[in-house]
């Protein structure tokens, strides 16, 4: 069955090609069958492979397809690697991907670009699968850039809207900044190890001393790539803007799968990171900073999708924190649970937006509980999961991260808990403002309120179930679990295991869990007090805000900062380069030479006075000079 792994990406690719080429000629039904079916098929194979892998002793299988690039020593095969890590990601991608495809059938049913949407989604799945399946860094890079492209296409799906297009472009360009780092990292890997195949690289890397500068450089460069793709500081601003795309896109790409590529990559390269403490620290610090920074912004946003977006950024920060402290399993665990509940939340939000006829401002919502019962329940479950309420999935994954952070550095743990509190607060703020209280929208919107169709609610329900039970694959030992996930991923991370010392006692772990739950409860209560009891509403657009509030509400003016520090100067610089340096100086020099010759010619021709006397005179002078040369 593992031999069939090639089919996994191939199926969505075929789906893309069929839908993409025939496009509008197919009926929507057929399109949805092909679109969803291809992903479902991939999921089925992935599931089969997963079980096969758990059953067999050989945990890492490479399947060579063809030789892709060769140049001297550099030889890059197009081959796939099946191991626990990739098979887990395969499941997440195809599974969640399928659900979101299904959801999209309903969500996009009225859109004229229905077929195009499915084509893009399938293409995305294809690239995402390449990303995780590749057996070397370059294949990963192919997927990496490919998903960036799909992200670009999908964010700008409604291409008539300039703002959406700008958001798409921004996403692509910011990703590219990271990609450059990634690419250079890959090249440095080649230069250092003479290969970029995981197997060869990791095998050699084990012999490197910890803190080797080459490794540090490699890991930092790779991390730049991760920062771009996974929206970490300072390259995160594209992700909130990416919410311009249709909601299923936000759920699939900008929450569940693509943005976690960075985590996958670092987890994949765990041995390299483990051997470079500086990079680890950097990852941890960037992770926690992002987590907090995004969380604070999330506190004051009013757009339902924006809040979720910042939440995603924040959760991604957690995952990097986990990676940074060496909790690779924790990070992957969180990727998985996050995929469930964040996809759920986005799809729920999509359902809300669908019901609200496109309205996204939570100030205009409220009391939707009655109208959208299924959405409400599932959304609540998702909220609890992300907040880390036991025994929902988020609790276990977050707990693992925090425990590891505590073990590593108390400050990191403290900040992590602080972030968790904020998460709980803004998520419940969102929940309360949306579903509780009274409806604040227009009459028109009120009239149209309706629960979403089956194709949308079924995925919601499935995801809700997964959000609830998803955490059970990683119940920590302290709670009597076997931590199935850790066992499963062990072959991947075992080389790095010397860093993962489980010195933490069960008591401490209980205490940490307790604190986390308490903090969560407190934040929940505070949110409840503010938004349900006191029925406080977020400030209206024209209202004056307190400085700190304003700072957060305006997202720290980071976009404006980038605009003024990078974009505008770049344009100005380029303009100057063009108008002054290129046209005046460089070309001026060239044209100047021509003009100089013409000018000289204009002068010189007057020497030809036409006067015989003058000619003779010059001749004599010439003769005198020539004869003088003899005398000298």
């Amino acid at each position: 069955m593992i031999k069939l792994v090639g089919l996994i990406p191939l199926l969505p690719l075929i789906g893309f090609v069929i839908i993409g080429l025939t496009g509008k000629k197919l009926s929507k039904q057929l399109v949805s069958i092909i679109g969803c079916g291809s992903v479902l098929g991939a999921f089925a194979i992935a599931l089969e492979i997963f079980f096969q892998l758990t059953g067999q002793a050989e945990k890492s299988v490479t399947i060579d397809l063809f030789s892709w690039i060769t140049a001297g020593k550099l030889s890059i095969p197009f081959s796939f690697l099946i191991d626990p890590l990739s098979s887990l990601f395969l499941l997440i991608i195809t599974g969640v991907g399928f659900l979101i495809h299904l959801y999209s059938v309903g969500y996009m049913s009225h859109d004229e670009g229905f077929a195009r949407f499915f084509a893009y989604l399938n293409l995305f799945i294809f690239f995402m699968l390449l990303l995780v399946l590749g057996s070397n860094y370059l294949i990963m890079f192919v997927g990496w850039e490919g998903v960036g492209l799909c992200s670009y296409l999908l964010i700008g799906f409604w291409f008539k809207n300039t703002a959406y297009n700008n958001a798409a472009k921004k996403a692509f360009v910011m990703n590219r900044i990271g990609d450059l780092g990634f690419l250079l990292g890959i090249i440095l890997i080649f230069v250092t190890f003479g290969s970029i195949t995981y197997h060869d690289v990791f095998l050699q890397a084990k012999n490197f001393a910890s803190g080797n500068p080459a490794l540090t450089a490699i890991t930092l460069l790779l991390f730049i790539g991760a920062m771009g793709k996974s929206a970490q500081l300072p390259l995160y601003t594209w992700l909130p803007d990416a919410m311009a795309g249709p909601t299923p896109v936000s759920a699939l790409i900008h929450a569940a799968t693509m943005v976690t590529a960075g985590i996958y990559m670092i987890a994949r390269s765990n041995i390299l990171y483990t051997l470079s403490p500086i990079a680890m620290e950097t990852v941890a610090i960037i992770g926690i900073c992002t987590a907090l920074f995004a969380a604070t912004i999330g506190l004051a946003q009013n757009d339902i999708k924006k809040i979720l977006a910042y939440s995603t950024v924040s959760q991604l920060g957690y995952m990097f924190l986990a990676l940074g402290v060496g909790a690779y399993t924790g990070a992957v665990f969180h990727v998985m649970t996050h995929a469930f509940f964040k996809a759920l939340l986005f799809l729920g939000a999509g359902s809300v937006i669908h019901a609200m006829s496109g309205e996204q401002d939570i100030r205009m919502m409220g009391g939707l509980k009655k109208h959208l019962p299924i959405t409400h329940i599932t959304f609540l479950l998702g909220t609890l999961a992300i907040a880390g309420c036991p025994p929902f999935s988020g609790f276990f994954s977050k707990d693992e991260i925090l425990a590891n952070a505590f073990e590593n550095n108390k400050l990191l743990w403290f900040l992590g808990v602080l972030g968790a509190a904020m998460t709980t607060f803004y998520m419940f703020r969102l929940y309360f403002l949306t579903f509780k209280g009274d409806f604040r929208g227009t009459k028109e919107q009120h009239h149209h309120l309706h629960e979403s169709p089956k194709s949308m609610t079924i995925p919601l329900v499935i995801l809700a179930v997964l959000s609830v039970i998803g955490g059970f694959v990683g119940i920590p030992e302290a709670l009597g679990g076997k931590h199935f996930l850790e066992e499963f991923l062990k072959p991947v991370f075992e080389d790095s295991s010397f860093r993962m010392v489980h010195s933490i006692s069960h008591q401490t772990e209980y205490a940490l869990m307790g604190i986390a739950v308490l903090v969560m409860g407190g934040a929940l209560y505070y949110a409840y007090t503010v938004y349900v009891k006191n029925k406080t509403l977020p400030a209206a657009e024209d209202e004056e805000l307190k400085p700190i509030h304003l700072l957060v509400y305006k997202k720290y003016w980071v976009d404006e900062l980038y605009e003024n520090v990078i974009t505008k100067p770049l344009n100005f610089f380029s303009d100057a380069l063009h108008k002054v340096v290129d046209n005046q100086v460089v070309d001026g020099l060239v044209n100047g030479t021509g003009r100089f010759v013409t000018w000289i010619s204009g002068i010189l021709r007057y020497a030809q006075t036409g006067n015989l006397g003058f000619y003779l005179f010059v001749m004599v002078i010439g003769i005198v000079i020539i004869l003088c040369s003899r005398m000298l």
């Binding site: 010619s601 010189l604 030809q608 003779l616 010059v618 001749m619 020539i626 004869l627």
Partner: protein
């Protein structure tokens, strides 16, 4: 020698044509005569005959004579109209033929006396022919300027010959050469003599700063005569120059190389730069001919095994290119009354043949492959490079870029500017001539070996 005799006889026969009234036959007769001369001349190949120790038909002389006769033949084809003037028909024939005699003397002399007479026999008909458009003030002026300056320069040449005679006691090139080597260091008057001869010959090949006559004379003279001066006269003078300096005076190269180095650079630059601003194509080509003298001097200065074949090839390539351009200029000027660049506007559309041949000829003059002009320049550069004159080669490269600049002004005018008139009627023989030249330019460029192998 046979060539010499035949050409002289042809000149005399031309004069007789007036008396015995066979003027109609004269044109074919001359062409026939030239062909015969060419054949006879080829017969002298490898014979290395010397006559009175005055002239020697070594291969060098034969090769240059051949070039001169070939070019003269083409020139006669081009200049047919020039000989239609009833009054002076026979005079023109004989003067041109006498000038050819002078040219042949210049490529074969082994004695200063022959050099001097050759120059004069070549020059005096030229003075006259430059003024042959008797009612044209410009033509008069050209003749007059040419004469005065030519005579003036002759004075210096003679002074030089005299000093060399004083130092060596001989006019014979071989003896002069040996006298210097025997004496080791010749008396200082010898060196002054060399320099004065350098000046005199530089004047003839129009090297700066003795080039001033050239643009004015070329512009003022009738176009066909300009063509003659630019091709045959220049070839002969260059050959004479080369014969004297790269052989006889080679042992005292130290005396003249520095001077010639600077003169070459000046020639290249002034010729090319000044041409840029010209609007009269004839005058532009006059300056360009100054510039071409500069390239040839480059090879002369190199004074190595490549020099003579380089100059041979260059003169041939340059001459046939010039014949074509002057022919077209005269056709255009006759039709439009002006030889300004604007007369060429739109020629590419009205007369594609003229424009095409003109383009090929100009490309050749500019030195663009695969034309003969390219290989000529290449060969010269190689020769100069070999001699270590890298700086001069760089100047020459710059100069030839400037050259491209003005040659292309005509090309651009022909193809880019809108047409102004209807197409021009061109004689069949002119058409044939031009086509032949165009092919010759390309063929020479592709197979230069057949010429450069000779020397």
């Amino acid at each position: 020698m046979k060539a010499l005799l035949l050409l002289s006889s042809l000149g005399v026969i031309s004069l007789l044509a007036e008396i015995f009234s066979f003027k109609k036959l004269l044109y074919p007769l001359v062409l026939l005569g030239l062909t015969a001369t060419f054949v006879l001349n080829i017969g002298d190949w490898n014979t290395n005959m010397s006559y009175f120790k005055m002239i020697q038909f070594d291969n060098y002389a034969v090769a240059f004579t051949s070039v001169i006769i070939v070019v003269a033949f083409l020139w006669f084809l081009m200049a047919e109209g020039f000989f239609k003037d009833e009054t002076n028909q026979t005079d023109h024939y004989s003067l041109v033929l006498f000038a050819l005699v002078g040219a042949v003397l210049l490529v074969s002399y082994t004695n200063m006396a022959m050099l001097f007479l050759g120059i004069e026999i070549l020059s005096i008909p030229m003075y006259i022919l430059a003024g042959s458009n008797k009612n044209d003030v410009l033509s008069n002026e050209a003749a007059f300027k040419y004469l005065i300056m030519g005579a003036f320069a002759t004075g210096f040449l003679l002074f030089g010959i005299t000093l060399i005679y004083g130092a060596t006691g001989s006019f014979n090139l071989e003896e002069i050469k040996n006298a210097v080597s025997v004496a080791g260091s010749a008396p200082s008057i010898f060196y002054i003599g060399v320099l004065l001869m350098l000046i005199g010959l530089s004047f003839k090949v129009s090297a700066a700063p003795f080039h001033f006559w050239a643009p004015d004379v070329y512009q003022g003279a009738p176009t066909v005569i300009t063509a003659f001066m630019a091709t045959i006269v220049k070839t002969a003078a260059m050959a004479a120059f080369l014969r004297l300096f790269d052989d006889t005076f080679l042992r005292v190269a130290g005396t003249w190389t520095n001077v010639l180095w600077i003169m070459t650079a000046m020639t290249l630059l002034t010729g090319n730069i000044t041409a840029v601003f010209q609007t009269s194509t004839k005058r532009m080509l006059a300056y360009s001919s100054v510039a071409h003298a500069g390239y040839m001097l480059l090879a002369l200065l190199a004074a190595n095994s490549y020099s003579s074949s380089a100059i041979l090839y260059y003169t041939l390539a340059y001459s046939i290119g010039s014949i074509a351009t002057f022919c077209i200029i005269s056709i255009i000027a006759d039709a439009k009354g002006s030889d300004g660049i604007h007369s060429f506007n739109g020629l590419g559309k009205t007369n594609p043949l003229l424009a095409g041949v003109m383009t090929i000829a100009l490309l050749s003059l500019a030195g663009i492959p695969p034309t003969a002009g390219f290989f000529a320049k290449y060969y010269i550069f190689t020769s100069a490079f070999m001699a270590g004159n890298v700086g001069l080669v760089l100047i020459a490269i710059l100069a030839s870029l400037i050259g491209v600049y003005y040659y292309f002004r005509i090309i651009i005018a022909m193809y880019f500017k809108e047409k102004t008139d209807e197409s021009i009627q061109v004689d069949l023989n002119h058409k044939l001539l031009l086509i032949v030249i165009a092919f010759a330019i390309i063929a020479l460029g592709l197979f230069p070996d057949c010429v450069i192998r000779l020397l």
